[in-house]
Symmetry: C2
Subunit: 219 residues, 2 copies
Amino acid sequence: MTIDANPASDSPRRGSKQGQQTLAAILTAACKIASEEGLEQLSMRRLAAAVGISKSGLYAHFTSKEELQLATIAHVREVFEANVAATLGSGSDSGLAALLDRWLSFFERKKFPGGCFLIVSAVEFATRQGPVAAALTEALDREIAVLETAVEAANQTGELHPQRDPGQTAFELHSILMNTHALSQVKRDPAVFDRARTAIHTLLGELDHPPTSKRGTRP
Amino acid sequence: MTIDANPASDSPRRGSKQGQQTLAAILTAACKIASEEGLEQLSMRRLAAAVGISKSGLYAHFTSKEELQLATIAHVREVFEANVAATLGSGSDSGLAALLDRWLSFFERKKFPGGCFLIVSAVEFATRQGPVAAALTEALDREIAVLETAVEAANQTGELHPQRDPGQTAFELHSILMNTHALSQVKRDPAVFDRARTAIHTLLGELDHPPTSKRGTRP
């Protein structure tokens, strides 16, 4: 690899270790902007200022706003996979209840300051065509598929008894998760997580346990 | 009232009948833009072009982008009240099931091309301060209050038997409605309304009727 002698570039080359660190900082800042202001507000100028590099330095990593938006979606998906979906089907945290607890904790820890922007951006881009809208739809499909897979597994292991329709149950769980995310962003009231846990408990336990009056308690 | 002799204005005065018609056209176009592209994309220039009047004509009705955003939120709330909340507590359509059916029909009829933008905009504005963010939060509070009131009434009339916790049940119903709205926008798959009706049926009927395997059927 040759040394980059271009004086106009203040960004390390993409392949280098320093380049990877810069890229990580760019993606973290991009997720912050996208989650606080929306994916469409994620301009090269705004992002360069947030990271503290020049616009030309940013162009060493992304050649267009669209490429940047796609990389930001890919990054938030990686964070979701690592934090929520990762241990699905393996080890002691393999069950449906554990998955849902990780998902809610992911929202509670506010991994991204303005929240996970996927569903909001997906609605924002719903009337548009193109790779960004397609990537958002794909990310949403993955979320629902993770839930369906977990319900199917819970049917098999006996965690869900009697068995439930995976597609319908995934929709109902996704509803609770998405509304919890939206309301926790807007209302900033942590009680919404108690409501979510009660709703999930009722949904998963309704057929073999009578509903209790306890709310928001965690094992 | 004096005649507006300002030659720069091509918009009728606010109080006149023609002025009211222009205002109605402006608000309809504003809701369309806000629901398709987001409330923040609702610029005076973009809206003037959509309605076919000059920017100065638009300024006869709204003196700022913020005033326009607030009027657009107020308009979508009026449409919600007229189409969804109106008959709550009166006549044959007074019950909780009827309310939920009107709400889903409101989404299905796509009253606004890109959908009702309230919850998406509320999340978009969640990290901001100011009257627009406050108006969005208030609109969301009203949605949840309508559901709570309907659950309380259903407890009283015996429509819900046994009685349910109004706050918790309102949260769960709101979850289904918001996710249905989001997914119907993104996926354009009408089957999501079947899922929503099944979820609502299970939620409201779970305690006194056994779940059935029928899906998406309407009475």
